[in-house]
Symmetry: C2
Subunit: 98 residues, 2 copies
């Protein structure tokens, strides 16, 4: 069963452009991982939203997601921490589409 | 330009089934609104995730979204409040798909 990673980001004021550039590099790496299906990277219309960026990515299953996570998430975490970005990731199932 | 509503829900322990039933009714109303494109309703794999339900819905544009919001969100808010559900909605643009 496919799983959806939804990762909520609170990016400090003034760091948005740097964050987007970092993410453009990250997505190149993500799309090479086995089991990756598709992703959408969102920016809030209002800059003062509690979470101003949200990533939504679909993976083939939970096990394959965690393998990709081990490979690519550790270096990303370090950079985000340096930029003062807080992130809140979790895995989801789609209960229904409408 | 289409906009994406991402609504984060913190549903109290034990209220999950009631919340999903309410949402099944809400989606019938949402899909009837002009300008609605598509939606996905997510449940976290882990019940203790900070946000255990997330709704992602795509609308034709921001103006049309707010018209639908005025019609359908007010009664929903009241019910969610009674159930002790906290929600964090915001509108987003897709910066890139990958």
């Amino acid at each position: 069963m496919s799983v959806t990673l939804i990762n909520l980001f609170a990016v400090p004021n003034g760091k948005e452009d740097e964050f987007v550039k970092l993410w453009e590099a990250i997505k190149v790496d993500i799309t090479k991982q086995p089991g990756f299906i598709s992703g959408k990277f969102h920016k809030s219309l209002k800059p003062d939203s509690r979470f101003n960026f949200i990533n939504v990515a679909v993976w083939e299953n939970e096990e394959i997601y965690w393998k990709a996570f081990e490979k690519s998430a550790a270096p990303m975490k370090e950079k985000l921490h340096q930029m003062g970005v807080e992130m809140t990731p979790a895995l989801f199932n789609v209960l229904f589409e409408y």
